[in-house]
Symmetry: C2
Subunit: 396 residues, 2 copies
C-alpha cells in the first residue's frame, strides 16, 4: 500500500461547507494525502506528512473530481449533420433518437466499446471521475443488455433506459413495448444495471407507462431516475418524487407543484444545460429550484443528438452564465450534487475517507471554471488516488 501527497494546493475545494471556508468549504495553502485510494489526511501544507509519491498542484486550485450523473455514451453512428441542420433552423423532436438506435443495433460490440471508452476517457481528462452511463439506444432485449454490458466495463453507475423511446417496430403497439421493457427486457438488463430511467415526455412515455416501468424496476432492486419535463410541462418530476427516484433530470418546464415536490423530497433536480445549448432551447430556472431548497446537480447529458459534450467545466460555465447559479452553486452541483443524484457518499467531496478523486486546475480558483469558458483548465486528474490524466506526476 503506497501513499501519495498532493502538495502545493493553492486553494482546496472540499465541497463540504463544514470542512472549510465559504459555501464550497475551501482551505488555502493545503495538501492532501492519499492512502489505499482514499483521502487519509487534509490540512495545511506546512504540516503535511511524508508519502511515497508526490504530485505538485503548482499552486492551483484542487476540487473533488466531477460527478457526471447523466450520460448516454454507448451508441453507434453520429448525428453531426442533424446538429448542423438544427442550428440552421430545424426543431428537435425525440424522433432523432431513432437514427442512433439503428446505428447502435448495427454496430459490432468492439465499436460500441471503443467509442464509449474514448468518450469516458475524454470525460476523465476533463475531470470527470465518476460517470453514470445509460443504455437506451438498443431498445431490444439483446441490444439493451449489450449496451449495459459495455457501460458496465466503464463504470459502476449503469442505468437501464429501455424506455428511451418506443422503437419503430413497436410504434403501432406501444403498450406491448412497455410490457417488454417492464418484463423480459428488465430481466435481461437488471443484472447489468444499478439504475432504471424512463424518458417521461410527450412523444416518449406517459405517466402510466413510466410508472409501470419504474415500479417494476424498483421491485427488481434498481434505483430510479427519470427524464422529466425537458420539452414541456408534464408528470415526470412529480412521478420521480413520488416514487423516491434519486434524480429527476432536465427539469426545464416546472410548475410550482413540481418545484415543491423536488424541494420536499430526496429527489435531486439534475440540470443538463448542454442540451439547451446544443438545441438552442430555454434553460431551466436553476434559481427557482435553489431558492426553493431543492438539491441541484449538473451533468452533461453527453449524447450524439442533443448534447455531444463531455465537459463538466463547460456545464459549470453555462450554469453560471445561463442559469444564474453562483460559481459556488455550480461547483457544488457538479460535485456533491452529482454524488447526491447517484446516492453516493464516497465521491463528490474531499474529506478523510472519501475516494481520492481530484481535479487539479491550471488556475488559482474554481471561479476560473466559469471565468475562463472554453479553456481547458484541467491540469491533472486523480481517480482513486491514481494520476489518470495530466502531466504533473512526479516521484521524488
Amino acid at each position: 500500500m503506497t501513499s501519495l501527497l498532493l502538495d502545493h494546493i493553492g486553494l482546496l475545494v472540499t465541497a463540504d461547507p463544514s470542512a472549510g471556508d465559504g459555501p464550497v468549504g475551501t482551505l488555502s495553502d493545503a495538501a492532501l494525502v492519499v492512502n489505499d485510494g482514499k483521502v487519509a489526511w487534509i490540512g495545511p501544507r506546512a504540516s503535511a506528512p511524508d508519502a511515497d509519491h508526490w504530485v505538485d498542484a503548482a499552486g492551483g486550485c484542487v476540487l473533488p473530481g466531477f460527478v457526471d450523473s447523466h450520460s448516454h455514451i454507448v451508441f453507434g453512428g453520429g448525428r453531426s449533420a442533424e446538429f448542423a441542420a438544427r442550428m440552421a433552423g430545424q426543431r428537435y423532436t425525440a424522433g432523432g433518437i431513432r437514427t442512433t438506435v439503428a446505428a447502435t443495433r448495427a454496430a459490432p460490440d468492439a465499436d460500441l466499446e471503443a467509442r464509449a471508452r474514448a468518450l469516458a476517457d475524454e470525460a476523465l481528462a476533463q475531470g470527470t471521475t465518476a460517470l453514470e452511463i445509460k443504455s437506451g439506444y438498443g431498445l431490444s432485449v439483446a441490444d439493451e443488455a449489450r449496451c449495459l454490458r459495455v457501460a458496465g466495463g466503464l463504470t459502476s453507475e449503469t442505468t437501464y433506459l429501455g424506455a428511451h423511446i418506443v422503437p419503430p417496430e413497436y410504434s403501432e403497439r406501444p403498450d406491448d413495448y412497455v410490457a417488454l421493457v417492464a418484463g423480459e427486457m428488465l430481466d435481461a438488463c437488471a443484472p447489468h444495471a444499478r439504475w432504471a430511467d424512463v424518458f417521461c415526455e410527450r412523444g416518449a412515455f406517459d405517466s402510466d407507462q413510466a410508472r409501470a416501468i419504474l415500479v417494476a424496476a424498483r421491485d427488481r432492486g434498481l434505483g430510479l431516475r427519470v427524464h422529466a419535463n425537458q420539452l414541456g410541462p408534464g408528470p415526470g418530476v412529480r412521478l420521480a418524487a413520488e416514487l423516491g427516484a434519486a434524480s429527476a433530470d432536465h427539469c426545464t418546464y416546472l410548475s410550482d407543484g413540481d418545484v415543491a415536490a423536488l424541494a420536499d423530497s430526496g429527489t435531486v433536480a439534475t440540470l443538463l444545460p448542454g442540451a439547451e445549448f446544443s438545441t438552442r432551447s430555454p434553460y431551466p430556472d436553476a434559481r427557482r429550484l435553489l431558492d426553493a431548497g431543492a438539491t441541484v446537480a449538473l451533468a452533461t447529458d453527453c449524447n450524439p443528438g442533443t448534447s455531444f459534450t463531455s465537459s463538466m467545466p463547460f456545464m459549470i460555465a453555462l450554469a453560471v452564465r445561463e442559469m444564474r447559479m453562483t460559481c459556488e452553486e455550480a461547483v457544488l452541483a457538479a460535485t456533491a450534487g452529482g454524488a447526491a443524484a447517484l446516492r453516493r457518499e464516497d465521491v463528490g467531496r474531499l474529506g478523510v475517507g472519501t475516494r481520492a478523486d481530484a481535479v487539479v486546475l491550471a488556475a488559482p480558483s474554481y471561479v476560473h471554471l466559469a471565468y475562463r469558458p472554453g479553456v481547458p483548465l484541467v491540469r491533472a486528474v486523480l481517480r482513486g488516488g491514481e494520476v489518470v490524466a495530466g502531466r504533473y506526476h512526479r516521484t521524488p
Copy 2:
C-alpha cells in the same frame, strides 16, 4: 531545409472555397506537404510525395490555424472577483479596466511577459497560430511602450491601444490625454506596433477624440482598428469604415447605416462573442452582417475583465449557437475572416504558398467544433510547419 508530410487527413478545410468543396473548400482523404514552413503541396493521400518527417492526422479534420485578431493578454492582476460579482447581478462598465491598469503598471516586466506568454501558449495549444495582441493597460508613455514590447516578443500583430480608457490621472482633462495618445505616446509606441486601435464608446473616447488619434496613427504608418458599438449605438463603426480601418470590433449595436458601411468598405466586422458570454450581454446580429455582405471575423477579445477566454473553438461554438452563423460561416470567420481583419494573405487558409499553420482535430469534421462545445478537440497544432502543440508527431 526539411520537409514534412501531414498525412491521413480525413477532411481538409482549406478555407478557400475555390480550392475544394462547399463553402469552406474541403478535400477528403487528403495530405499536405510543408517545405520551409510553407505549404508546398496539397492533394489526395494516395499521390502524396515523400517527406523527411511525418505527422499522422489519424483521419481527423485539419483546418487552417485559427487567427485570433483581437486580444488583450498583456496585463497584471486578475479580475475573477469582479467576474463573480457581475454574474451575481452587477453591470459591466468600462471603469473596470482601471483595476487592470493599476495592476499592470505595478507589475514587473518579467511578470507581464510570463503571463502573456502563458496565455499565448494556451491559445496556441487550442489552435491559434496567429494572434493579435493589444496594449491598453499601461496608459502612460512608458507603460504602453513596455506592454507593446512584451506583445512584440510574442507576435508581429501588435496593436497600440493607448486610447483604451482615459486613465484616472487625466479624468479631469481628457483632451490632454488624447493629445498625449496622439503625440508623445504614439511616438514611443509606433516603433513597436503594426496597428492602432481606439475604444470609441460612451465612457471611453468620442468620435472627435477617436478620429484625432486614429488619423495621427495612420500618419505614422500604423494600420487602424476600432473598438466600436459594443455597449450601445455610436459613431465607431462608421468612423472605422471612413478611415479605412482593417476592422471594427464588437459591432453589437448597429444601425442600418453601420451595416451598410461595413458591407461597402474593406473594414471587417470582428465579432467577439466571448465578451457577450462573460458579461451576459446580447450578442451581435451576425446574420444581418453576413446577409448584407460584410466580411465577418471571430476573435476571443481575451482579457481579464470581460472575456477571459483564449479559445477560438469556443468562439465558433458560440457563433453557431448564439449568433446563428452556420458551422461553415463560423469556421471561415475564425480563419480567413481573422486573416482579413489583419490584412494577411499568408495565414487563415491552406493553399500552396501559405504559411503551414494547421490544426488537427480529434474529430472527423469542423462541424464538431460547434457540435461538441467545451470539449478540447485540438489534437495537434502546426505553426510554420513545426508541430508546436499536441502528441502526434512521428518521424519515420
